[in-house]
């Protein structure tokens, strides 16, 4: 008799395993399995054919790759997790019988997880660790603001605080920061380390709010942090090493007593943390780490495109080099209402010097009445005592300057001024179908910037100029490309224009004039016919793509419209004010 092959013993059916069967195989509880998955970075996988992968069972199950589970099977941590189970039992018993001596003994010798090998296993190279650093940093920064919580080890937030601070120091020393963005969620920082862009979020003050267990399970997050702290530590170590710094960073001027450190409360701790940011880290050697390298010129092809590319890269490098020393020689003084941590970090990253009121927080380096201060950062509408020798600017100037990679003119950012919008630096202006607000367009195009500036000046002088018209024209042009209907409207407009032309009394022979939009119209018609010849296979794809395109175009159109309406409204208000003012004068006269 022929043995018939059983179903699902090969192929996708044999490749996947449900979570339940994985638990059975590993002989772990669900909690332990979760912890193991988080630490080891094991995740469920989406099979190509779900039905086959689930061995014909209906519904949607969490499927793990069989090889992943086998991989977990060989993990020494599994034993440690079992130790934990025993430990918990022992502790529970000791507590129940009130044998506090034993209890203490157990608690002092609790088993600890060692995760070093997992870091190396998950991130075979340093570069790969850097690639995955986004989540790690964001979560560590969040945990560094946490108070002690149930289910979160008590020293975890302290460790996070230490490691994030170390990382910030590395970024400062290496001048690795590239972009900053203040969003309603927090401060986005983007650094470039070894060619990897790393973005992390630092929440605003008082980010911790108690959450119900149904909403947020801090235990899960804590497990993540447990791994991330180890990972961040190793990354920090290597970063410091690469920058010729001592790893547990030594601050050349900072001296504190250990006992004092234990006594300080949370606020002082934060203050010290910021203070530490303002201090240089001592180096292992005085050699400069050379990172300004020239690109070798090689013209293998000799093609122009290649040269152009190289030229572009060179320009970019030049810009980055400038950016690194953006605030060099500038001295900043922070008023007390300004959030210090992000500002100190940013300014120090780009070579500036910072200080603050020494009576409020530790670590200030110079006083307010220092004559060499170039900028004082204030976040209040007015100040009584002002120095003439410095600019009083709002904090946004620092962030906008970094994103523009140049020191922006300070006029718009003076104390009490209505700030220009703060734009996201993460949007690629060259990507098509992206709405670019007028302010951003001005930033990308320097000529326009000047023009706008001039226009602003003019506006201030005579309030007659319109720079909106320009924008509107551009809008029209762009919209023509996007929407056919609008195009037709445009045609009508043009026709009207034609009819409006004054008629001459003497009519000469008419020269056939090619109607400019006729050609494009015809082309569009032809294209629409051609569109119908798309292969059946691609029809839906094309349709959905075009739908997406149209949706985006509509969004852009909506934003533009809103902007136009807003501008018109503002203009109207200005005019109203203008017209009201003289009247008042007359009354007073």
């Amino acid at each position: 008799m022929v043995n018939r092959k059983k179903k699902y013993t090969s192929g996708e059916g044999a490749q996947f395993m449900t979570r339940k069967s994985a638990l059975k195989k590993l002989q772990l509880s669900l909690n332990d399995f979760r912890k193991l998955c988080i630490l080891k970075g094991i995740y469920p996988r989406e099979p190509r054919n779900r039905k086959r992968a689930q061995k014909g069972k209906a519904g949607i199950r969490t499927l793990y790759h069989v090889k992943d589970i086998q991989f977990l099977l060989h993990e020494p941590i599994v034993w440690r997790l079992r130790d934990y189970k025993i430990f918990n039992k022992k502790v529970g018993r000791a507590r129940a019988v009130k044998d506090f001596e034993k209890l203490n003994k157990y608690l002092n010798n609790h088993p600890t997880l060692k995760l070093d090998h997992i870091v190396k296993e998950r991130y075979p190279t340093f570069i790969e660790a850097l690639k995955d650093l986004d989540d790690c940093l964001t979560l560590c920064f969040l945990f560094s603001t946490f108070p002690s919580l149930a289910h979160v080890p008590r020293d975890q937030s302290a460790l996070c605080r230490r490691l994030t601070l170390e990382f910030l120091h590395a970024v400062i020393e290496g001048k690795l920061l590239r972009k900053v963005f203040v969003s309603i969620k927090g401060y986005y920082f983007q650094a470039e380390i070894k060619g990897q862009t790393i973005t992390w979020i630092v929440p605003h003050h008082f980010s911790f709010t108690p959450m119900s267990k149904a909403e947020v399970d801090f235990k899960v997050m804590s497990t993540f942090v447990e791994f991330y702290t180890v990972m961040l530590g190793f990354v920090n170590f290597r970063l410091y090493h690469g920058l010729n710094l001592y790893y547990p960073p030594k601050f050349s001027c900072l001296q504190q007593n250990n006992e004092e450190k234990q006594l300080v409360d949370e606020d002082i701790f934060v203050a010290e943390r910021v203070a530490a940011l303002n201090l240089p880290v001592s180096k292992t050697s005085n050699e400069l780490v050379e990172d300004d390298f020239e690109i070798d010129k090689f013209n293998a092809d000799g093609s122009e495109a290649n040269e152009e590319q190289q030229e572009e890269i060179r320009k970019e490098l030049e810009k980055v080099k400038n950016l690194k020393n953006l605030f060099k020689g500038q001295k900043f003084y922070l008023n007390r209402e300004v959030p210090r941590e992000p500002l100190v970090f940013v300014i120090r990253c780009f070579g500036g010097e910072v200080s603050w009121d020494k009576t409020l927080f530790v670590g200030s380096t110079f006083d307010e009445d220092d004559e060499t201060i170039t900028h004082q950062i204030v976040d209040r509408p007015s100040m009584e005592k002002q120095f003439i020798s410095r600019y009083y600017i709002q904090p946004q100037w620092v962030f906008d300057s970094v994103n523009a990679r140049d020191l922006l003119p300070v006029q718009k950012y003076f104390m009490g001024e209505v700030l220009p919008p703060h734009l996201s630096p993460f949007i690629d202006p060259e990507k098509d179908q992206e709405y670019i607000p007028p302010e951003a367009r001005a930033l990308y195009n320097e000529n326009e910037l000047e023009e706008q500036f001039k226009n602003d000046e003019n506006k201030k002088n005579d309030d007659d100029e319109d720079d909106d018209e320009e924008d509107d024209n551009e809008e029209n042009e762009e919209q023509e490309g996007n929407d056919d209907q609008e195009d037709e409207e445009g045609e009508e407009d043009n026709e009207e224009n034609v009819s409006k032309k004054p008629k001459l009394s003497v009519s000469t022979g008419e020269v056939y004039k090619e109607i400019p939009w006729e050609k494009s119209r015809q082309e569009r018609q032809e294209f629409r016919l051609r569109e119908k010849m798309i292969k059946n296979k691609h029809r839906h794809l094309y349709k959905s793509m075009m739908e997406g395109k149209q949706k985006r175009a509509k969004e852009i159109w909506l934003l533009r419209k809103k902007r136009r309406l807003h501008d018109e409204k503002e203009k109207g208000q200005k005019e109203k004010k203008k017209s009201e003012k003289p009247k008042k004068k007359i009354v007073t006269n």
Partner: protein, 780 residues
């Protein structure tokens, strides 16, 4: 010690004598006193209200009472009291404190016992003397408002009622207030209801209490501090018996404990603080150089085919704390956002953009922790798979076809409309106005056909007429009325015959239109006049299907030369290329739905014995003896000579409407009611070579040009699409199909658009007949 006690007794007694009158009331009055000082109304001094007055005072009151009650008892004990307790001093009245101050100086070495304890002990030891005080009212310590409704206040010792003293009315009270100089210091005793005038001392006391000073005036707060318990070793022992022996011997028990600890330390079971700190430091993660190089991986077991998690999408302008104004939600958008609370993934943004005019006003984001948590969940719970993302422009999916400009000539603009009004003007010029009512169709034009020379156009309409038009001028030359709706017309392809086929109702008319060459016309007539004699007997089946009838005189005058009367409605007629045979289609005719007739022999035959479905239309091959029969879903090709089915074309569509064959005979275009046009290359396969979805609605007419590589289709969406359909002689090269031009001049009527499309035989012109009762000519 005895002396001191005596002194105190004497003093006490003296003072008691002097104050005897006031003492009576004092114990109960204190509460009222306060009220007086505070200026409250006397009358309303209920116990409930009394409680409202400061709690401190109450306490002191109570203590006062106690002290008063226990006066005598206390005085005996007080010799032993070592009063360093400030509170008790404060609470005591004048005399007490005075005495104590004296006492305290001398009682330095008395044993330390707390006065409070003593007092408490006394209370329990001795009988309760509070009732023995000079209290006339015997109701006890009850809220006096219980007696509010009675005339009396309580009972005296003898059990007689104590009547409430008369209280005057408001006027009396007022007069009293005005006249009595002591009014302000008069208080009412709630127990007796009597007015009591407070003495100066009482007032003083009250003032001090309200000022939160020590009530006793004479008490020196700043007296030099006397250390009762000094660190100096006294000369004499406090107790007369010596220390116990065990206080000089080391404790065995302790020694045992210590040895245990030492042993534990030795064994490392317990740790000293320094050691513990060291250990803790060791337990903290130790970092070292984990990766020796940046990008060289060591060999290790790793995750199988790792898929790294995608990064979070970076924020746009909308998330800024100070976004450009256009990003802020207006009311409508906000409403929309709120409405999608149950389906947040449908929201345009996952947050509401906000604008803050300065950085210090930006609050913490309330969902921050939640978002991070969700990200964590994504990282370990979300199934991962590699999905290839298409990174192409949608335009690249559009096939690259030659530009229509290179494929000219083809019809592009509307040249002539064949309809009533236009002709009216035309005839007006010729001053033949009385004709104009007959001009133009008044109903849908179902079918058109053009003669071989391209001069005349034949049209059949739902208004039961056929019309013949001059193509170049748009003039209607002739109108012939029929009995019924004209479904199909076709001009005879034989140039030698001036003959048209008209399908109207159940009849098919052969009409000589009498236009064009006179010779041809007359010759046609003569040919048709003589009936050929044949000995072939028409089978019964055919005879039941069709009858050849000679027209009557009037009909003959109109040009009708022959009438074929069918047993069912005829919906289509079509000529064979030679012009001798023609085929008629009766969709309702079951197995007799297709009929082929021959004019020269005046004979009909039914090619099929079995019904293959609802026949939509038939078509003759231009060169070969093939017949194309389109049923609802398939096109069958029959070889008429062999009398066999050659091929069955699978259209893969729901309902075929029309067909047209390329003049070379190798390509067939089929129009369907489900919007498609199917191009069959008969050499290739039975499936369509290309499916064209050019129209939005049902396709009703397709046509090929005789000479130019053009084909056209008309549909219910009122558009006529002219396409380039190049067929190459080379067998290896597939036909090239390029849609060229969309012409949309017809008007819709009852959801119908264009019914029929015909090309000019010589020029690249196209005719279309529509439901709006017009025929339009487009030229290049």
């Amino acid at each position: 010690m005895g002396n001191k006690q005596e002194i105190k007794h004497v003093k006490r007694k003296n003072q008691e004598e002097t104050n005897s009158t006031e003492k009576e009331a004092e114990s109960t009055e204190d509460e009222e006193l306060l009220n007086v000082i505070n200026g409250e109304d006397e009358d309303s001094s209920d116990d409930d209200e009394l409680e409202i007055s400061g709690s401190e005072n109450e306490e002191s009151d109570e203590e006062d009472e106690e002290s008063e009650d226990n006066e005598e008892v206390e005085s005996e004990e007080e010799s032993e009291n070592t009063d360093d307790d400030q509170e008790s001093e404060e609470s005591d009245n004048e005399e007490n404190s005075e005495v104590k101050a004296e006492n305290s100086k001398n009682l330095g070495d008395s044993a330390g016992a707390n006065i409070n304890e003593k007092v408490a002990n006394n209370e329990y030891e001795d009988f309760d003397s509070s009732d023995e005080e000079d209290i006339r009212n015997t109701v006890g310590n009850i809220p006096m408002n219980w007696y509010n409704e009675y005339k009396h206040l309580g009972y005296d010792w003898d059990g007689n009622q104590i009547l409430k003293p008369e209280t005057g009315d408001n006027l009396d009270a007022f007069l009293k207030r005005m006249e009595d100089p002591d009014f302000w210091r008069t208080v009412k005793d709630p127990q007796t209801g009597q007015d009591v005038v407070l003495s100066d001392e009482d007032i003083n006391l009250i003032k001090r209490i309200t000022a939160q000073k020590i009530p006793d005036e004479t008490f020196d707060e700043y007296a030099p501090w006397i250390e009762w318990f000094t660190s100096e070793v006294e000369q004499m022992p406090l107790r007369k018996f010596p220390e116990h022996k065990r206080s000089f011997l080391p404790s065995k028990h302790e020694a045992r404990k210590v040895s245990k600890l030492v042993h534990a330390l030795k064994m490392g079971w317990i740790k000293t603080r320094a050691e513990a700190a060291k250990l803790r430091a060791k337990k903290e993660p130790q970092f070292y150089m984990l990766w020796q190089t940046d990008d060289q991986a060591e060999d290790m077991r790793r995750i199988y085919k790792h898929i790294s998690a995608p990064k979070r999408i970076l924020p746009g302008h909308a998330e800024s704390y100070n976004p450009p104004p256009e990003y802020l939600f207006d009311e409508k958008e906000l409403k929309q956002w709120n409405k999608l609370k149950s389906a947040p993934w449908k929201r345009k943004l996952h947050f509401v953009p906000q604008k803050f005019d300065s950085l210090r006003k930006v609050p913490a984001y309330p969902r921050f922790i939640k978002e991070r948590f969700l990200r964590c969940l994504d990282l370990y719970l979300c199934p991962r798979a590699i999905k290839m993302k298409l990174n192409i422009e949608p335009e690249s999916l559009v096939p690259k076809l030659p530009s229509p400009k290179d494929l000219q000539p083809f019809p592009t603009i509307l040249a002539i409309e064949y309809k009533g009004e236009k002709c009216q003007i035309f005839f007006f010029l010729l001053q033949k106005i009385n004709w104009f009512y007959n001009l133009g169709h008044t109903d849908m034009v179902r079918s058109i056909s053009i003669d071989k020379t391209g001069q005349y156009l034949l049209s059949g309409s739902d208004d039961c007429t056929i019309k013949i038009w001059e193509v170049n001028t748009g003039r209607c030359l002739k109108t012939i009325k029929t009995n019924s709706v004209v479904r199909s017309v076709e001009w005879c392809p034989n140039a030698a015959l001036s003959l048209v086929l008209v399908a109207t109702g159940q009849e098919v008319l052969l009409i000589n239109p009498n236009v064009g060459d006179y010779l041809v016309n007359s010759k046609t007539d003569t040919v048709l006049q003589d009936v050929p004699k044949s000995d072939v007997v028409t089978p019964e089946r055919v005879r039941a299907t069709v009858q050849w009838i000679e027209p009557d005189e009037e009909q003959y005058k109109n040009g009708v030369r022959l009438i074929l009367k069918h047993f069912k409605d005829v919906c289509q007629v079509t000529w064979h290329a030679k012009g001798d045979y023609f085929a008629t289609v009766m969709p309702d005719g079951q197995n007799r739905s297709v009929l082929i007739s021959q004019i020269s022999r005046r004979r009909s035959q039914l090619p099929f014995t079995k019904s293959k479905g609802l026949v939509q239309c038939v078509l003759f091959h231009p060169t070969k003896p093939f017949l194309f029969v389109a049923t609802q879903r398939h096109v069958r090709i029959y070889d008429l000579v062999k009398q066999a089915l050659m091929k069955k074309l699978l259209t893969n569509s729901k309902w075929i409407s029309c067909m047209a064959i390329h003049p070379l005979g190798d390509n067939l275009v089929v129009g369907t009611y489900d919007r498609k046009m199917l191009w069959f290359d008969l050499d290739l396969s039975t499936k369509p070579y290309q499916t064209l979805r050019l129209h939005g609605t049902a396709v009703r007419g397709v046509a090929f040009h005789k000479h130019y590589p053009l084909f056209a289709s008309g549909s219910d969406d009122r558009s006529l699409i002219v396409s380039h359909g190049m067929v190459y002689n080379d067998l290896l090269q597939n036909p090239l199909i390029v849609p060229l031009k969309r012409l949309q001049n017809h008007e819709g009527f009852n959801d119908f658009g264009i019914f029929d499309v015909v090309f000019h035989p010589l020029q690249p012109w196209v005719f279309s007949s529509g439901a709006d009762a017009t025929i339009k000519l487009y030229n290049n």
